[in-house]
Structure formats: C-alpha cells, structure tokens
Subunit: 327 residues, 4 copies
C-alpha cells in the first residue's frame, strides 16, 4: 500500500456550525503527520474549477469557534457528470493529492463515493449537516448547535406567547428528518411536534388544542419540521384558525439562523474527533470510501453506501414522552 502524502479537504452542501472545527482538525492532524494539506474552495465546484489552496497550521487558527466554513460551500451539478469529475481529478492529480476528506451530507457522500471508485482516491466523509439524518453516526456536526439555536429562539417565543396567551406554530429546519423539531420541541415543552418521519394526526392535534381551550390553557406551541408532508406551519395555522378561531395563532419560521453561529461544545468536540479520525483513516489506508462517525461515543467507519441509504427512524417512545411532559 502506497503511503498517503498529500490530502485535500472540502465542505459541501448546506453549511453547518462546526465545519470549521472539522477543517481545523483535518489540517492540523495532517500537518502533524507531515502531510501536505490542500483546501478546496466551494466544494466540488472548486475542485472542478481548480480553486484549491495550500493550508498551513496558521490558516486554521482561531476558527474553531466560528460558524460557517472558511472553505465555503456550494452545490455542483457538474460533479454529477463524468466530465466534471474528470476535471476535478486532474486538479487533484497535478498536486499529487492521494486522499480526500469531504465534510457534508449524504448527497456529498454519493459524489465522493463515485469519485473514489472512478479514480481510486481514498475518500473519507464527515457528517456535516444540521439535520442529523445520516446513518452510521449518532450525531452530525452542526445538529447540536442548530437544536440549541432553535430552543433559544423558542424560549423567546414562549415569553411573548405567555404574555399574550397565544398559540405559536414554529417551523424549524429539517427537510427529511425531524430531529431538530423533536429535540427543540421536547426541550422547550412544546405541546405538539410534527415531523416528516411520522404522520401527524391533525384531527387529534386540533382536538387536543380544543381541549386546552376549554381548560383555559391558551398558551400553546407547536413545533413543525419544514419537511413535514402533512402540512407546513402556515397550513397548520390555517387549520387552527378555522377550527379554533378564538385562539390567537401566530407563525414563526426560524429559517437560516439555525445554520449559523458559534458551534456548541459538543459540535466542536465531535468535529475535532472526526477530523482527526479522517486523517488517521487516510494514513492507515484501511478505508477507501467511508464516512467517519461517532457511535456510542466511539469513532466508527461506515461505507458510503450504508451512510447514504438508511434513514434512522425516530422511536415511538419519544412521542409519548413529550406529550406526557407538556400536559
């Protein structure tokens, strides 16, 4: 087995807090092991357009606490074509890059998998997404920060809901995965939580709210994941306004504030551990096309095929839990 000498790192897809901490860990671990480390700007697009810069220890100084990604990120259609990937490969090849670290979500891993197969370059993925929707890891880089941002916002919303006796329907991020909704809803005492993974019984929710109305419990919060197929926050508000017109119903869409901000302790730690683990995996040469994740507090490597395919189901006990606690 040929020993790796030059590695590159990129961030791809939606940005997530903690990506900078992961970049820092990749760069510093690489340099510690005498590797040359390159940073690819704007994800796969920069790889194709040769937007690649050498990194040293200083280039990642003082970024562990910053949101966003110093390497920028983008989505690239061209990388889905063989021609695009060929160009990307040429740009790595001319720098002698023989190992790649891709920080992103499952879409990014699909690209990395194909690329790795086609050109024989070992690729290690790190789960960087606020959605926590990737199997092969208990946590994703960015999820904990996003959940904390959401609870801090919902705490504020509860202040005003309490002051006015209002129902607030709060939409949080999560296109396919309801974890931000579930965690932030449970953590803020939300009366109802709606997630994509599980049909929401709208009739039931309305009945429960009507019951609250009778009991003079007028302050209510519903947390809805944006990807909820059974009704967005706005649609849900229409239903409530029609069925319970006496309720003072408001909608808040938290939006992109959930992507930014200084990463939480947990996200910085996971990002640091996984960045380190990615370089270790490249150095050891054992993994060709894998994601490094944390399972039961230990680093584990999962083949990209499996990191891509599965979507973890949210256990039924979680829904029982928040309902009992919010009652």
């Amino acid at each position: 087995m040929k020993k790796v000498k030059n590695i590159a790192v990129l961030t791809s897809g939606g940005d997530a807090p903690g990506m900078n901490a992961a970049i820092r860990a990749v760069v510093r671990t690489g340099i510690y092991h005498k590797l040359n480390v390159f940073g690819v700007m704007y994800g796969y697009r920069g790889m194709i357009q040769d937007d690649i810069v050498p990194m040293d220890s200083k280039s990642v100084a003082n970024i562990i606490q910053r949101g966003g990604t110093i390497l920028k990120t983008a989505r690239s259609k061209e990388f889905f074509t063989p021609e695009g990937r060929k160009k990307a490969y040429e740009n790595l090849k001319k720098r002698g890059v023989d190992g790649l670290v891709v920080i992103g979500g499952d879409g990014s891993f699909k690209g990395a998998h194909v690329f790795s197969q086609e050109f024989g370059i070992p690729c290690i993925g790190l789960p960087g997404t606020i959605d926590k929707d990737i199997s092969g890891t208990d946590f994703t880089i960015g999820f904990d920060t996003a959940a904390n941002t959401a609870i801090s916002a919902i705490d504020k919303i509860r202040d005003t809901a309490d002051a006015h006796d209002r129902l607030f329907i709060v939409e949080v991020m999560g296109r396919d995965a309801g974890y931000i909704a579930l965690y932030s809803g449970l953590a803020t005492g939300a009366e109802h939580i709606m997630v994509p993974e599980r049909p929401s019984d709208i009739e039931n929710i309305v009945a429960a709210l009507q019951d609250n109305e009778r009991r003079k419990k007028l302050v209510n919060i519903i947390v809805v994941a944006e990807g909820c197929p059974h009704g967005s926050a706005t649609e849900m508000a229409e239903v409530v306004r029609r069925e319970i017109p006496s309720f003072d119903t408001r909608v808040c869409i938290l939006g992109h504030i959930q992507r930014g901000g200084s990463p939480s302790c947990m996200d910085r730690i996971i990002a640091s551990r996984l960045g380190y683990a990615a370089v270790k995996a490249l150095l050891e040469g054992k993994y060709q096309s894998h994601m490094a994740g944390v399972i039961n507090n230990e680093v584990r490597y999962t083949p990209f095929e499996q990191a891509i395919k599965t979507t973890e189901q949210i256990g039924e006990e979680w829904f029982g839990l928040y309902r009992i606690l919010a009652s």
Copy 2:
C-alpha cells in the same frame, strides 16, 4: 392636593423585554413609600374584567431578568368605549386606586389619557415597545434587547451567507418605525437598509447589487423593516430574483423572537429608572396624564398628547453612514 395611597400598574399592547423590570420598579418603589400596589392582569381588559391582584415585594422577586410580562398583556376594544372605561374605573375605585402606571406603546397612552381625563385618576405612562417609535424619550423599554436579538440573528445569517455566497433579505420588526432595521442593519454591516420612514429607491438598490455582482461581491444582506411600504422582504426578493437571477437570494423573517428573551442591561436600567420615576410622579402629584421618558440621560415627563402625536424622523446622516461603511 390629596396624597396618593393606592396605585395600580398594568402592561398593555405588544409585550417588550424589560416590562418585568419596570413592573418590579413600580411595585418596589410603591411599597417603599408605603403605598398599596395592585397589578392589573391583561392590561385594560383585566381592568374592565376586575382581574386585579395585590402585589408585594416578593411578587416581583427574580423577574428583572425575565422576558415577557408577569402581568400579561392584551388589546382591549371595550376600553375604547365609555362603558368599558366606566367598568374599569369602578374596579379601581372599589380598591381606592388613585394612581395608575401604564406600560405600553402610544395606543395604550391614548387610552390612559382619555381615562385620566374622564375620571381624574393620575396616569403615568412608560414607553414599553420594541419599536422606539414614541416621542418624548430617547429610548423605549425593549428596543435595545430587540435590536441585540436581531443582530445576533443576522450575525448567524451572515455566517451562512458567507459560506454560500448568498444574498439574504432579512425582515425585522417595526411597523411604523425603522429603528430596529436601522440599528441592526448598521451593526451587522448590512449592504442595504429599508425603513418605513423613508422611500427606498428600489432601482438604486438593484443597481448597487448589480454592481456588487460585477465586482464578485456576492455576499449581501438587506435588512427590511416589516412596515416598509415600498416592498416587504418577500416582494423585494421577487424583484432581485427577476433582475439579478444569478444571485442566490433567500428571505428570513425574524418575527417574534425579537419580542422575547432576557432584557439587555440598558433595557433593565431604563425600565428600573422609569418605573421609579412613575411612582415618584404619582407621589409628587405634579403630573396628571404624562409619559415618563429618558431624554439626554435624564428623566423627563411629556404630556400624553405629545408622546402620542410625533414620530421622530431618522436623520439622513444615518443612511450615508451605513452605505459608506458597508461598501
């Protein structure tokens, strides 16, 4: 002049961070001066419905740092009728209330003014509104917190805007007043700020953005006050998408998070000073129907008629300033 013995305090209209600090100051100053202090729940509505509770020093313990209002707030149509105000008066009268403190915005002051005239009960208003849209005071209780919440959110949005090279159009609160937009826009380095007080030259903004596009300055933030007559954030996004389709344009509506949260230092201080000043004014009997405000760092009393009417204009120099600094 009859000395005041029993006073009541209420919060009215939209809630604002710092209202609890103001309530605390009114209650404790009243008790210190041997007054009986009553809390009216849900603003004028509770005054009409006799939802009035005696307050003691403990009832306002540990609230100076809390958002919302422990007295709750509401809007009351009935108080705009003579019958409603009569009922309200009876409820005060039977408790011997001979002084009222109203924490709220200009709509609440209008009601207090009429009420005071009709029944001869001295009323002191405190400017409690996040909008900073009341003349007779340099600051309103809640504005500084709301502005800080907005900048903290926009800082987060800038993280993700930077990561993706995006244009974000951020809508902040402010129906008639653009101060939150102005302050938060200036404080976050926004490229454009749109406020209700001043026509926004949409063509000019688009031209400036097109210029930025040419210069490869793709990260841009526009802060828009919700009350902007020349186009909401959503409408503005349509314009930009049409005129500069190459821009990756996103909209964020910050919404009610701006109303909640622990009040800032400045809001707690102003609320404390003004709550104290309101009771002082009732004790001294000099003011019958006035708002207590802070002008040039000193407490000043302004007749409700003047606190209502004027809307301060935002000086032209502010607009020059942010444009130069964001360039």
Copy 3:
C-alpha cells in the same frame, strides 16, 4: 408487589442546570400516571425538617428553561445519622410516600442508598452534577451546559488574549473530574489542559511554552480543573511567571457561572428522559435503589453501589488529540 401511589422528588448537593427539567419530568410523569407527587425542599434537610409540598402540573410550568432548582438544594449532615434519617422517614410516611426520586451526585446517592435499605422505600437517583463524574451514565444533567458556559467564557478570554499576546490560565470547575476542563479546553483550542485524573507534567508544559515563545506564539491558553492536584491555576501562574518572565500571564477563575444559566438542549433532553425513566422505574417496581442513567443513548439502571464507586478514566487518546490540534 404493592403498587406505588405517592412519590416525592428532591434535589441534593451542588445545583446543576437541568435539575428543573428533571423535576418537571418527574412531576408530570407521576401525575400522568395518577400518582400524588410531593416536592421536598432543600434536599435531605427539608425531608428531615418536614419542608415538603404537594406538586401539581402547574407548579412545574415554565421551568424547563430555568437554571437552578425550584426545590432548592442543600447539604445535610443530619441525614448521615440514623436519627436524621428516621425523622425524614416519618415525614414521608405520614404522607404515604412509597417512592423517592433523588436528583444529585454520588454523595446524594450514598444517602439514598442507606435510606432505601433502612426503610424499604424504593429510591431512584438521577445524575445531576456538572462534573460528569458518575459511572453508570454517559452524561450527567448539567455537564453539557457547564461545558458550553465554559467555552463561551474562554472564547471571550481568547479575544483579549489575542489582542494583547497573552497567556491565560483558566480554572474551570471539577473537583475530582476533569471533564469540563477536557471538553472546554479541546473545544476552545487550548494549548494545555490539566485534569485531576492524570498527572500533569509541569516541566513539559513549561518547555512547550518556552518553545512557543521562541516561535513567537505568544497567545496561549491553559485550562486547569479546580481539583488538579499538581497545581491550581494560581500556582501554575507562579511557575510560568518565574520560568518565562517575558510572558504576559493572567489567571481567570470561572467559578460559579458554570453552575447557572438556562440548560442546553442536551441537558433538557437527558433530564426529561431520566425524570420520566425514574417514575417508570418506581411504577414498575423493578428497581429498589438504583440510578437511572443514559448509556449509548439508552436508559439504563445501575445499582447505587456501582454508581458510587467507579470513576471513569479519561482515555489517553483525548490528550493526544488536543495537543495535535492546538499545535
């Protein structure tokens, strides 16, 4: 087996953020299952002094986001005597309490264990301590919040360290356990981390700092756990000032700010899950004297004897990790 009907809950030892979330979960789960729930004020002291109040659903409303503990906490010497425990038992007995939930650290569990043995009252412990020093659980209620408070403080300290080219020695909490130091140090890019579990090689640290001095890396942060036997922050500062007088060395002791504040998402979730699990355990009658913890993201019950005895060791790989990443 007799079915449990009346339960009591208390917080004991040092307070930790998330205790209120745990109390809420115990109370609401109990009420949901038709139990009577009592709150014991001031831990074991209140149990002895009969400071016990009935709890209903409303008494725990709006506390999930609050630091501290509404049940207050204290240390009680009397509970270590048979007489004290007898009195405590009588006070529970007269209310028919047949199940007890104790939220606290290992000292509190020792008391609960003896009490449970002596009087046959099932006791379930919940790990409530910022120190994460209890075996039988991966996380303790309060640790994540304390770690986040520490990193937010150290981030601020780094700002001023950077501005002045200074060395800061930051002391964080953790008498026997270095987890707050380890996590906050790793998450803030600290150059050195000193923990009680592992001898710190002071000479080595000084040599590394001297090396940094030669390389003109003058901004350095050392995070020290308060229980570090090899030298407190103040002592360490003396060593550095003596050995490297050219360094501008400052000490910060973060202190009790690490105990307070609104709990993080993770702490609220763990507290909610464990509060629910404690009542479940009492209802099912399977556990007599156990701590409910979270291991590998699942609730597990550990006999108090085992929750007390072990102290988890910090793996060597963590120390390698931060050193590589801070270099």
Copy 4:
C-alpha cells in the same frame, strides 16, 4: 490648510469590544474619501517598531461582530520618551501619514496629545474602554458589552445563589470607575453595590445583611468594582464571614471575560459613528488633538486635555435607586 491624504489608525491600552467596529469605520470612511489608510499594529509600540500595514476595504470585512482588535494592542513605555515618539514620527512620516486615529483610554490620549503637539500631526482619539471613565462622552466603546457580559454572568450566579440560599460577592472590572458595577448591579437586582467613586459604608452593609438574615432573606448579591478602595471582594467576604458566620458566602471574580465577546448593538453603533466622525474631523481639519465622543446622542469633539482630566461623578440618586429596588 493642507488636505489630509494618508491616515493611520491604532488601538492602544486595554482592549474593548467594538474596537474592531471602530477600525472598520475608520478604514472604510477613509477609503470612501480616497485616503490611504494604514493600520498600526500593537498601538504605539508598533508605531515605534514600524509595524505598520496598509489597509483596504477587505481587510476590515467581517470584523464588526468580533471581539478583540485585529490591530492588536499593547502598552508602550518607550512612547513616553521623546526618543520613542521621534522614531514613531519617522515611521509615519516616511508613509506621508498626516492624520492619526487612536482608539483607547485616557492614557492613550495623553500620548496622542503630546505626539500631536510635538510633530503637528492631527490626532483624533476614540474612547475605547470598557470602564466608561472618560469625560467628553456619554458612552465609551466596549462599556455596554462589558456590562451585558457581567449581567449575564450575575444572572447565572443568582440561579445558584437561589438554589443554595447563598450570599455571592461578585467582583467586576473597573479600576477607577464603578460604572460596570453600578449598571450590572442595578440590572441584576443586587442587594449592594460598591464602587471606587464613593465610600462604601461597610458597617451599614453588614447591618443590612444581618437584617436580611433575620427576615430569612438569605439570597444576597453584592457587586464590587475591582478598584474599590474600601475592600476587594475577597476582603469583603472575610468581613461577612466573620460578622455573619451563618451566611454561606462565596466570591466570584468575573475577570477578563468582560473584555471579550461579540460587541453589543450599542457598542457597534457608537464605534461606527465615532470611527466615521474621526475621519471626518481629519478631513475637515478643524480638530488637531481631540477626542470624538457622543454626548446626548450627538457627536462632539473634546480637546484631549479635557477628555483626560475629569472623572464624571456617579449621582447619588443611582444609589438610592438600587437600594429601593432590591429591597
């Protein structure tokens, strides 16, 4: 009068949040007016050592929200000597610098004043200090952020004080000025506030605490400015422990966290306005050796001699206020 063409900016003395916002405003306003702008690293020391870099618009991008100062800061003894200032002048002269902006405290202004007199270079000072101890301005850059950091810390301390029924003595920054103590104490409902400007009647404080002990008010907070001549936090704790041994008394020294962190809205606004005003003053050539401050919300220029000499006194009414409100 010769028109200014090349200006330099530096930060000096203790760092303060908002210094970066001020640097950004100076640089961008200068560039907007076609000036060449230089950044002097490490304050006067860098001016002497020729550590001076050209600044462009990009060099101050994305710093408005950052704590610390990108120009770094230091104290320089050499600048107090004619030789040192001569060297500094030569370094400015060779770049044609004909205007200097100094962001710092009164010590820095003294240096700027002498320098300006000696070499005829117009110097404008901006009040950058968390202490708010400079006359000629209502606010200093950094004070509002430091006060907010302090109240956020004291709020957390109150959580744990409440949980344990404790007295906390909290030491905040402020060597000669008690404003941080006064504002943060008032804003957190502290029972006592001790400042350098005013003798604290220790006997009185102890008597009041003893009275609280009798009334079972065991949770108490004393905020002490570090510069308090009548006793530091630690000394005060000794007094209380001796006089009221039944109190559970703890000390917290907030320390350098008060210097760092993202600046508040108000600090960013003031810094932006004053940075702009400094360049305007240099362009207009009206002021030779002045500080730009904000008085009654308007920019005013004060000769360095006056900005140095006076120390504003804290009005007696503030002390009456917090005592009434905390009772």
